[in-house]
Symmetry: T
Subunit: 137 residues, 12 copies
């Protein structure tokens, strides 16, 4: 089953970005981890909101399930939320760090209310769990 | 009279996007509706904030009136607001749905305070009314 | 088509009331403007909440469309909101000034959530647009 | 024992007004219900705040107990609250619907703190219970 | 008709507990009052949240109507609210004192929104009225 | 000099209304006190918002100074505020009690920001001081 | 009758200080105005909170009435409020400007709740009115 | 590996409790599901806060990993949070429903900040994913 | 003099529980410390709210002074507050850590307003000081 | 051991200042009480913030323990807080009254978070307990 | 020393954009001013968030100091903040206008907390000062 | 050009005061640094609000530019703000630490809105930059 695994801003720098918070797995390793969990996982990353919106439109059209780590956009991009609302397949939101244990402005995600479910704080394994869950549907 | 009719994120998918909220008029039909109201209406849509800012700069330079449906950006993009503040012609803000009857975060628009006026909840007809009003100035 | 055009407190003094905010069209001119837009427009004004509630009950009974400028009541009269909730025809809320650009307490209207749509900031033309929209339904 | 049963705005339309919320008992049936509970019940309704204030003054002068459904005024009319503060007899506040389960702005009543007690959500039976309670004092 | 009359923390001490607020009726007298109103009233009191939850589960299973005075728990025990949400029979919330006239933290009850109705401030008579209302259903 | 002295809801009952808060001067004595301070004082009282708005319109037309005790309306009637904004003469707001020492909802007056000045807590003498001040302008 | 007229920070510069807000009466003229109203008025000014507290203690001991313009301290100095609470004579708070029409942080005064009354916005005449009122007690 | 799977109030009624929200898996089926994921899973449920605190102390002593669905307690029981803070093994918080899409008071969990990670909205599968994750540590 | 020293949730684990916050004195040592300060000190601990409420009722009946460390319950258990309100002897609230220097939700205690006094941040010595103070009454 | 016992504004008037709140012990008696508890206690009082800051600097230099009753300053003087942050010895904050039971603005102290501990509501005995505690360190 | 001088949305229009707020220096003059201060200053501007994030990643990799005027993004773009958090060299935030004196939503910058320092209100000279400071490190 | 460099409470202890926050430059070194930047810099420090207000009055009279580090007063002393409002020359506010990265109560300064500009977080170099900027005017 094809699944879109969509990553938002700054996630391309995984491994070098604040490793105490995000761990030392690199983005390439993350891609490999997802592929291992689902060989048809289509893993992408962008720092550009319009590109991300386009990918979500693509998923809305195809009905493909989505794993979304919207990173910082989670906390303010209502444009992404509106794109997520159009999805016809399931959406699992993933955060690598435990956002509830960080700054106040990270506690709420505008995406969560339109996601099927959310996994936070379990590191990059969150992606694997999300793919596992989608795979069994 | 040339008028810029500028549409923000997710509006390109009008008709297929949450039709219970936004109606079943397609984006192409919206373009036609605007052209019918004003043959010189220059109707555009983008999911990219920078592109929208550029269009607003273009309007600021030409003095052209603007009809703006900033969609989700209305609720947080101060960058768009700052671009609107530079307009020298009138600006009519349009929302297809009645935002005051939806989620709390849609009740306020950071653009409204720098717009000449705002039309909400009258569906795609809001564009026609805005163009009508600008045409009579 | 008969339409009720209902105006709330202080609007009878249009033209002399804070013309920098509300323009210099007089209330009589507003009535004429509405009649020009729809000869069957029944334009009324009152400073009395009970009278306004009665007019809304009348509209609820007849099913007539309503154009409502509730003026200051918009910001606190839940009694008016409850009367509006009973309407069976469409309701277009109009404000002459751009309320979002004025004092904080004018930014929210308790009526908006039960109105079909809202037009603000386009001056007395807002009435014409509202009547135009209702006329085409 | 004479009791004033005072009803605020929009309650005269009981039965036709949002029956899913307020039930299908008509106002006339409500009057009959009150009279059945207490033949001396003096049941009145007004959409006019000044009239209601006058009735409360009348009760303050006579010492008569009051059953008050202030409807929408409950949420903002401090003028009514001040009139209630002058009552010398007991005051039972009644709401037909369960206000705590509706919009946020209906959760607080400015009248409650100066009422002896409050009954909500039990439909028009709330009036009967209030009259029963007052009758046994 | 069997009705569960459930009382929360500190209510076992009625009569000796802050009589200026709660009156001087003792808990035993309250039980008698309820039995007088409905001989099948099953009146219970507990200071233990788990016990109360269990009683509500019991009512959910039997479909019995419930009169609930959750006392202090009303203001924070979402666990009780969730238990109340499962009830299949009607639920009348009772408070002896007029909570709206006391400390701010007593003004809202997390239970109210899932109760059929609420009676406050009418003293122990609130129980009688609730039982009366349930008896007539 | 003619001055309008306008009194809002419940003030007609001065003397009998909560004398611990408002003192035992009757409304008739208040009228006499005002006349003593300014024989041309035109002292009025109403419980009806529309009547008060009409009196303020009258003052706006004549340019007469106004002494206004809007009582409970002070805390929510934006309609009165809008009427006050149209005044062309000075406006002195008076409150008999020290509102800042009472309930929270009495601490702010929506009228104050459009009044020339405000006198609170000095009892009915506040009217005399206001008339004195206006008399010396 | 000896009255203490106490002025807080920056008031010594009256006349040169923001004359659009505070008028062009100088501090010396203010002193003269107070003396004219009450030859025993003891008018003082300080920028030092401890000095002001000492003066209030002096008034508490003597029972002298106080006219207090605490200026900026009004909005935060709980130390002054506590000193005012000890006064045994009446306290009239005066503000030259209409604080309710200025920045939000000037709308509330921590002193008002422990003052007998407050006069705002009537310019330096506020002092005269306060002295007049105290003189008639 | 032994893992404690701890369930809070009302979860013993899974299957019959609001199935539209929580699904129709019964509590016994949940236990079986956990055992299938980890035969050493020790699955427990209680409506009693003290019992839950005791189980968490037991886990703190043994160092066993914990899967915790604190249900309604998540939103207010700081006592549970303090018990969780003492854990020496990892803690995965699970919610069956997507709490971010429900009432406001369910959006924040006082437990999240002291949990390793959180899984919401994936139904009873959330338990399986949590056990899977713990099993691979 | 007999004094009840009542300890709430998680305090039984003193010494092993977050020693950086609560110190390394064990609960047994705390008991000994209290007995040394007052041989009649009756020191108890429970994780069960109902048990704690029962102990407070016991104290209310006997009039015994109480030293209460309600731990996490301090921040939300209004049921405990209501039990404390019934005490007839003095109540000293103790917290081992300086709660004002910790998370925001620990800054306020719903118990404090009904306690005679409060001692925070002085470690287990707070108990000794409280017993000393009660001993000298 | 030399200890600085520092008292803030209005405390020099202890005994005559609001005795219902602060008791009837005079300031001289408070000094004697402190000296009795610790003959080397250096007890001082000032209404001047700068003087208090200087004393705290003196303590920072000498490393002497401090007992501080900052009175009204506790609620707003961040300058005092910053001075307290520099202390190298322990700091015990004392309040004579139970601040949590008084006005809302007295519930928080900006000093508490940088104090070792706080004692409130135990009257002037709070000083003795603080000195006792410091003496045993 | 090479320094990146990064400018956010609408700053390319400096000189023509609201000159009363931002001054009449053009963007080209700003570039020249920066080059004069540091010939190696690499001055860039973009209206595209992704481009700005990319530039910050570039600086994170090279360790180059950054001068950042994030303009409107300062108030909501957590994505930019996260990019700034990765910088290894110093970051000076610059705003041309005094943001604290403008609309409320401009008072806080989500970037400030992760910047070394911030300069506001000193016009385009702020850039020069920032470059001067970085040059001396 | 003579410039007043005014420092508020606790800044006289620079170097010994929380060096991790404020650095290890002593106050004497700060004075020297300012003199090096502008030999006519008149550098002063006080812990006394009245003294600071007097210095600002002196600057208002002379028209001298001011560099102000109001330290803790920045967050609450409206008296200082009012003194700053009177300045006729430019005012640069300086903070040594990056206040936006510290406690919430340090994020806003009541002085900023009336300062020409603000420099934070650049250590004592902020003074040099401010003097540099003023020197070039």
């Amino acid at each position: 089953m094809r699944v879109l695994v969509l990553n938002g801003p700054n996630l391309g720098r995984l491994g070098s970005r604040e490793p105490l918070v995000y761990g030392d797995t690199t983005y390439d390793e993350l891609v490999a981890l997802c592929r291992a969990a689902n060989p048809e996982a289509d893993v992408r990353q962008t720092d550009d909101e319009a590109t991300m919106i386009g990918w979500l439109h693509e998923a809305a059209d195809s009905g493909a399930p989505v794993v979304l780590n919207a990173a910082a956009w989670s906390h303010y991009s209502i444009a992404l939320r509106d794109a997520c609302s159009q999805l016809t397949g399931p959406l699992v939101e993933v955060h690598i760090s435990q956002t509830a244990a960080r700054e106040d402005f990270r506690h709420a995600s505008v995406v969560s209310a339109v996601a099927t479910g959310t996994i936070t704080g379990l590191g990059v394994d969150g992606y694997r769990l999300a793919l596992d869950w989608l795979g069994r549907l």
